[in-house]
Amino acid sequence: MTVKIQNLALIVSCAALTAVAACSTTGTSPSAPTEAADMQGVATLDVVVTAEIAEGEVRLSLFRGAEAYDGGPMTGGAILDVSSGTATASFQGLQPGRYAIRAFHDLNGNGTMDTNALGIPSEPYAFSNNARGNFGPAKFEAAAFTVTSGANTHRMNIR
């Protein structure tokens, strides 16, 4: 008989949405310093993004601290050509601290993260640490990573 039922679909659901929406803001230049260097130390950060679909652009936004991540200003942004499958965004002049990233894969090049009629992202999206959300974007605590003075590298996947 029948069955089933499942809207498992929505498991993922609305989850990501609002959050990633922040990424829709087009990023600034990948290497532009966005904050004055802290005299206590200056950091650089390379974010290496691996895209399952090797085409189009990935747009990512970098946030320092939970408040910024949850709706405040981004520290920096990047638009990455991922036609080779992997691309790197380099940020310089960062204050050491806890950072997190929201990203989406702009497959159709319209500059925004597309959603379906239920508001669920219909383009791939990701958070730093490859963190996942539950009915919403990944929490800052799950996506956060530490940037220390000097050179830092963070790797993330988008699918």
């Binding site: 029948t2 498991i11 219909s122």
Partner: protein
């Protein structure tokens, strides 16, 4: 409340206890053969053995059937009938011996799990060990409930995500059908309604948000329009009803109340003191026009509906007293335990009147898998269902023809050990039609295919074939006539 609190069937309880603590890897006995996994390579095309009767010479086309067919991988076994990967079966009729073949739908879920050698994703009622992240409904789409023809392709339908396109000639998988940018990865019911013009009326139910996407889809598979309606009960809604002018969503009081990660079925709780709500939607605007409240009962399926001149809407439901069948009995079959009659669905005639009154009348007869002749959709006409002669019977072994008013016209009772699946209508050129479907011989563990005269089901099968293999119990199918 834990799901096991719902385990009210003593038969099921005894069986579960017997195998405690670990679930058996293979169901027991001949009945359990219907819940074994099909071979990964599927079933090659082979002739079916005619056991009795004759093959009508005007039978030319293919009966396509979908159902969960893989229940085991990497030492884990699914908990529920509705968890398994979908397989499309084709029963082809034309010149020569009728044939059967079956092929798994190559969903991304299935491909990933074969590569991993284990189950990766949460499904209807099973959470695998160390589940993989779910990023979209495509990751968990089992495509395992029904199949319809659209634009020269088959669409294998699940319920929580997009259709999957299948080549009807070799049953190969073409890929996910996004339908449109707005509908991509949204839920899409396994039970769209197709009207006499060939237009498909679909819906996708968002139980998390109490929302539904109503859609109108052309015969070529393109989306004509859709609308999102809100403020619906957070119910599990498996099918809907159509009339000439309206679509009706039946929202049983089986509500999604659990939001943390878990199998789909576990998210729902039965609400015995809440109403079952029928929401009437205008086909012209795809907006809600009226709601009716009826006593609590759970449905997977409704019969086709029609509308009278004064706006009165009439249809029938296959109503379960509550949700315990899907929570308990459809799990017990995975251990080879047949479900008992008392919690089966029963026929219920429902009348929605334009002044807001609603009548619900039950006749006490078991009823599931309602079907109609596609030429007479939305008109008062004969419809059919499977059922059983006695509630204490353990299997659906009856095929029942019902008059336009719902009264039983004819009932055929098969042997007690026969388990009848859905039988779909095959229109005949000169009027009338056949019914075709699979039955399972639970004594010998054989899968059979039966063909009935829809106007005279009482005489029993016109023809009965044995399949080359015993196939897993399937769900819904469709007949596609030869071009």
């Amino acid at each position: 409340m834990n799901r096991r609190d719902f385990m009210v069937s003593t038969v099921a309880m005894a069986a579960m206890a017997a195998i405690s603590p670990a679930r058996a890897q293979e169901p027991f006995g001949a009945f359990g053969k219907a819940w074994r996994s099909a071979p990964d390579q599927g079933y090659p095309k082979r002739g079916m053995k005619l056991l009795s009767g004759i093959i009508p010479n005007d039978l030319s086309g293919t009966y396509f059937l979908n159902g969960p067919a893989n229940h085991d991988r990497g030492g884990e076994r699914n908990e529920h009938w509705f968890d398994g990967d979908g397989m499309i079966h084709a029963f082809r009729f034309g010149r020569g011996t009728p044939t059967h073949e079956g092929r798994f739908i190559e969903t991304s879920k299935r491909k990933a799990e074969i590569e991993a050698g284990r189950f990766l994703y949460p499904v209807f009622d099973t959470m695998p060990k160390n589940p993989a992240p779910v990023m979209s409904s495509n990751d968990v789409n089992a495509a395992n409930i029904s199949v319809v023809e659209r634009g020269g392709e088959l669409w294998a339908l699940w319920e929580g995500g997009s259709p999957t396109a299948i080549n009807p000639n070799d049953l190969s998988t073409k890929g996910v059908v996004p339908i449109s940018n707005d509908l991509v990865c949204t839920p899409f019911s396994a039970h769209p309604r197709i009207d006499r013009s060939g237009t498909m009326w679909g819906y996708g139910f968002d139980s998390f948000g109490g929302r539904a996407i109503l859609s109108e889809i052309a015969p070529d598979g393109s989306l004509r329009r859709f609308n999102l309606i809100r403020n619906l009960p957070r119910s599990m809604v498996h099918d809907f009803i159509s009339t000439e002018k309206h679509l009706i969503l039946g929202c049983a009081p089986f509500w999604l109340t659990q939001f943390e990660p878990m199998p789909w079925l576990d998210r729902f709780r039965w609400q015995p003191n809440e109403a079952r709500v029928y929401v009437v939607i205008d086909k012209e605007t795809l907006t809600e026009v009226r709601r009716y409240e009826t006593p609590a009962a759970f449905q997977f399926h409704h019969f086709d509906g029609f509308e009278e001149k004064d706006g009165t809407i009439r249809f029938a439901a296959c109503s379960y007293p509550d949700a315990s069948w899907v929570q308990t009995e459809a799990r017990a079959v995975m251990d080879g335990v047949p479900y008992t009659g008392t919690r089966e669905a029963h026929f219920e005639r429902i009348t929605l009147r334009p002044d807001g009154r609603v009548d619900v009348e039950a006749d006490g007869q078991s009823a599931e898998f309602p079907v109609g002749d596609p030429r007479f959709v939305n008109t008062p006409t004969m419809q059919w269902n499977v059922g059983r002669a006695r509630d204490e019977g353990r299997l659906n072994h009856s095929l029942i023809a019902r008059k336009p008013d719902g009264e039983i016209a004819v009932q055929w009772n098969g042997p007690d050990d026969t388990f009848l699946g859905e039988h779909v209508a095959i229109p005949r050129a000169n009027g009338g039609g056949y019914l075709i479907g699979v039955q399972f011989d639970t004594t010998l563990g054989r899968s059979l295919l039966s063909l009935f005269d829809g106007q005279n089901v009482g005489r029993g099968p016109l023809a009965l074939w044995q399949l080359p293999d015993s196939i897993p119990a399937a769900l819904h199918g469709t007949w596609v006539a030869s071009a």
